[in-house]
Symmetry: C2
Subunit: 300 residues, 2 copies
Amino acid sequence: MLKTGLATRLASRTGTLTHPTSGLAPSYLQANLLVLPARHAPDFRLLCARNPVPCPLLASSTSPGAFTTLQSHLPAHPTLAADIDLRHDAPKYRVYSDGALVAEKADIAAEWGDDHVGFLIGCSYSFEAALGGAGLAPRHVVHGRNVAMYRTAVPLAPAGVFTGGTVVVSMRPYRVEDVGRVREVTKGFTVTHGEPFAWGWDAVRELGIRDIGRPEWGDVCLTADRRGVFCQENGEGFVPVFWGCGVTPQEAVMRAGLEGTVMGHAPGHMIVLDVRDHEVFPQLDKGGEVAEVEGQQPVH
Amino acid sequence: MLKTGLATRLASRTGTLTHPTSGLAPSYLQANLLVLPARHAPDFRLLCARNPVPCPLLASSTSPGAFTTLQSHLPAHPTLAADIDLRHDAPKYRVYSDGALVAEKADIAAEWGDDHVGFLIGCSYSFEAALGGAGLAPRHVVHGRNVAMYRTAVPLAPAGVFTGGTVVVSMRPYRVEDVGRVREVTKGFTVTHGEPFAWGWDAVRELGIRDIGRPEWGDVCLTADRRGVFCQENGEGFVPVFWGCGVTPQEAVMRAGLEGTVMGHAPGHMIVLDVRDHEVFPQLDKGGEVAEVEGQQPVH
């Protein structure tokens, strides 16, 4: 069992860890990775600044080409990870060329060029742990499956080359009477998607979700007794609750059809940092009550 | 002619200025005002942080009840206005009680209570001046009318008590071939709505605008020769270009149906600050090219 962010990164770096990071290094902040050609970096920063709920930017390379030094976007946490190598520290990577997936690899040392900039983006593992702690464990966690993720018709605020993107949401079903508590528990997780974006059956239509029974990413959500698929108003008393999802920026990059080499972590194979959830989200020390929250830093 | 932010505030404060501030104190940053009971202030800050394009928060009262001291949210500009009184410095105010408009007044000294918090929100005057300077003056400016504003079906990311809100957009028609330059000129105005949110006739449907010929706020937009109303694909070669609009947070407050007394500036009757556009948006010194841009400060 890998217990710290550093141990997880080193295991990835040396090739001994190749599987998803869910459940590893509990309480250490995990992050999505996206690596872009430097000429698109300013537009991507702007995209994140304009869409902080689905695209919460945590950190980026200190300069084009830099893979061991990060500029943190959390003012209270200038050092998110001391010993880091963005080319090796995720257990698995994906490589895209001119917008198309071309490879899944253990590292991206060969692909990383002098003009690549890495971006770390917040992930929902932090608030899922808090939901579990509040007796509101998401069903996919209980069932050991991936969360269901959907495209919506909700436009992202565009930024330069990044046009035509829409918000991607993750979905966790909850009883109607629990939605208030679910909102309260997740509200303070401002840099990891925060409180839900929408909830209830009407929201499926309002968000323009094509088919709640067929998520575009992840697994279909099972009914509570695992005997069926949670996908309609079926009298179970659960409603879908939607959050902004870290797939959004990757999807926006694909939609923009960027030329050149783009890289990211393989889904579920996150980069784990040194900073801990309760340091970034102080409300975790206060039984879920929201205290000071941390937001976006200036766009550079 | 009132030439500075301070002169404009003092003229409002003493009652000699009672008309809209458009065109006054050129190059000084103008701001929307919203005043809420303190118990709703944390949720409102979160609403702005989660929706920075339509709700760009510039500053807020340093503490509940404070109307002469502001906490700036622009890190590079700790003092947005040195001598300010939020109760008097807009030329005209609106007062709402339990969600309903109850009065339009010259000042809100009588209504301002010990637990009221004022919020200043970015306004589009800054980028309209830049568009004019680039030979792209918005048509409503040329025609001396108010900009057309529309409700959309695009959901705001909710925040605590603020649920059910949608993005409000302003619309300025441009020739298709000019949209690229319009985007480039406005892109750097990150704290005053920035580049367009959407454009083109398809966007009218995608945003869920009910009737482009009937804006919910402001004036209908005239055709270039003023002989008709710009409201359909009429062969003129112009398309609607939409920006996030500062009416959004007021609309969100109304939709939330907050109990108690809420106040704001009367439309067009802004509070003018000491800081100048080219100080906040350094790209204005560089012929419209986007340089460093300033984003949102941490949520307190």
